[in-house]
């Protein structure tokens, strides 16, 4: 297999997705004609305000909530920060405990760590070998001092989908709030805020065909949390800052398209299963994450005796965009906390590869990824001093 600069296979949709042409089309008129400030009294402002509320209604419709329960933010990280800090500060003094998991995204983990430094007690619930939350441990930990239970809906690295409704029930029994980081889930699986029974839910536009720089937080009616961003009283006084109307319209359009295409996710899941099967036919490999309760596009496989960054660099050279949980590709030099939480030995965490597929991927892509990965793994194993077959 030769290096091919012409063909690119993008299999890193969990990192970000290309903006859909339909989304760009929906956004352009907002830049050109409908550029008013929704807070203004004049015609330009009123027109923008109408567009804003239409977009909010569209997005809320897809997410199974009321328009007034949906707040636009700048990104998923802001939504995560707001939900957790907002709930913690609102409950301070009465309930000082925060419960989360060991496999959260850094947007949640670092937020919890920051609150820990401020004096809040944080419990990190463990997961089983497939990445499913230990519900017994959760039941033991949730008490009348718990302000919020924050659990990721679908994990960004290993794709495992948590039983969030059950988790929400456990939280509510103790009078605690339940928040789910649904950044990876929205757009990939049906996400209905009411059905999930959570109090708050975060999402990020660029994970499903909207641009970067736009996110949202669902806050159930009646749930009181502190503001993170104060100012001119936008978003019904809860999240200030002039509304980013073109991006909000883009986010709403992308949600609509994701809903329309949800049926096609069955095809993506079949591609995922074929990719998993093909990669596991390479010796000394293992699947990370749940075999069935996983995102339709997520594939995470570890290869023994090789290191992830090397694999990603070679795959890139061969036209494939993938990622790894290896320490060597991160800024911290620590291997993925998610892979360690599922009990993967550090050596195997270093040898992990993640492919995240989308609608745009084909069977041909998957076969090419399998062949290229096999070649790369063999190439690197031949020069690995720890490979027993060498």
């Amino acid at each position: 297999m030769q290096e091919n600069n012409k063909r690119r296979i993008y299999a890193d949709n969990a990192a970000t997705t290309p903006v859909l042409p339909e989304v760009v089309e929906a956004m352009l008129p907002i830049f050109y004609d409908n550029w008013g400030n929704p807070s203004s009294l004049h015609e330009e402002g009123r027109r923008a305000a109408r567009t804003l509320e239409t977009a909010r209604a569209t997005a809320a419709g897809v997410l199974g909530c009321q328009p007034e329960e949906l707040y636009f933010t700048s990104c998923g990280t802001e939504s995560d920060n707001w939900a957790i800090k907002g709930a913690a500060y609102a409950a301070k003094g009465r309930r000082n405990k925060i419960i989360t998991s060991k496999i959260e995204h850094h947007a949640v983990l670092s937020t919890c760590e920051a609150l820990e430094k401020e004096g809040f007690e944080v419990k990190y619930i463990g997961v089983d070998q497939d990445g499913l939350l230990d519900l017994d441990e959760l039941r033991r930990e949730v008490d009348d001092k718990t302000a919020i239970v924050a659990i990721i809906l679908a994990n960004n690295e290993i794709g495992t989908i948590q039983p969030i409704s059950e988790i929400a029930e456990i939280a509510h029994k103790a009078g605690a709030l339940c928040f789910t980081d649904a950044v990876q889930a929205v757009g990939s699986i049906p996400v209905d805020a009411k059905e999930l029974g959570v109090d708050m839910l975060s999402l990020s536009g660029h994970k499903f065909g909207a641009p970067k720089g736009i996110g949202a937080l669902y806050i159930k009616k009646g749930v009181r949390i502190k503001n993170l961003i104060d100012g001119g009283g936008h978003e019904r006084g809860r999240r200030s800052g002039t509304e980013n109307l073109p991006y909000i319209v883009g986010l709403a359009r992308a949600l609509e398209i994701a809903q329309e295409r949800m049926g096609d996710m069955r095809r993506v899941a079949a591609l995922r299963d074929r990719l998993i099967e093909g990669l596991l036919s390479i010796p000394h490999s293992r699947l990370n994450g749940h075999p069935t309760k996983r995102l339709p596009g997520n594939v995470n496989v570890s290869f023994e005796y090789v290191e992830g960054e090397s694999m990603v660099l070679w795959l890139d050279k061969m036209g494939i965009a993938a990622s790894t949980g290896s320490a060597c590709s991160s800024k911290s030099l620590d291997p993925s906390h998610v892979l360690l939480a599922i009990g993967l030995p550090v050596e195997m965490a270093h040898g992990s590869l993640r492919f995240s597929l989308s609608h745009a991927n084909t069977e041909e892509d998957v076969e090419y990824i399998i062949a290229a990965t096999r070649e790369v793994v063999e190439k690197l194993r031949r020069m690995s001093p720890i490979y027993p077959g060498a």
Partner: protein, 145 residues
Amino acid sequence: MVYSEKVMDHFMNPRNVGEIPDADGVGTVGNPKCGDIMKMFIKVNDKGIIEDVKFKTFGCGAAIATSSMATELVKGKSIEEALKLTNAAVVEALEGLPPVKIHCSVLAEEAIKAAIADYYKRRGIEMNFTLSEHSCCERECDRKK
């Protein structure tokens, strides 16, 4: 993170990969937990010149590139000259490394020294230099455990 062209060249086309079955010195440094292991083989002639050098490395792009460059820098050199190899020289020859990858060059320097130490031991020569006990594992991944 961006690697220099030179790093990418030595990663994609590593020089001196392999083993020397009748090597005069073999050194291994690193730890699979850290994510990198380097094994160096040297063949030394009667005049104390490193006639041949080969390596095998498990690790990231920088680990492979620094191994490759280190072998290039000591090949044909005397043992004394090879002992003067510094990680900074490896970094310079590679036209730079990202800050988080500097430890790879340290590992490469130590791998060469470990192979020479083994050569000295086999010949019964007293060592006039010291080997770092921990090599790369003074790093974050180990410190946090």
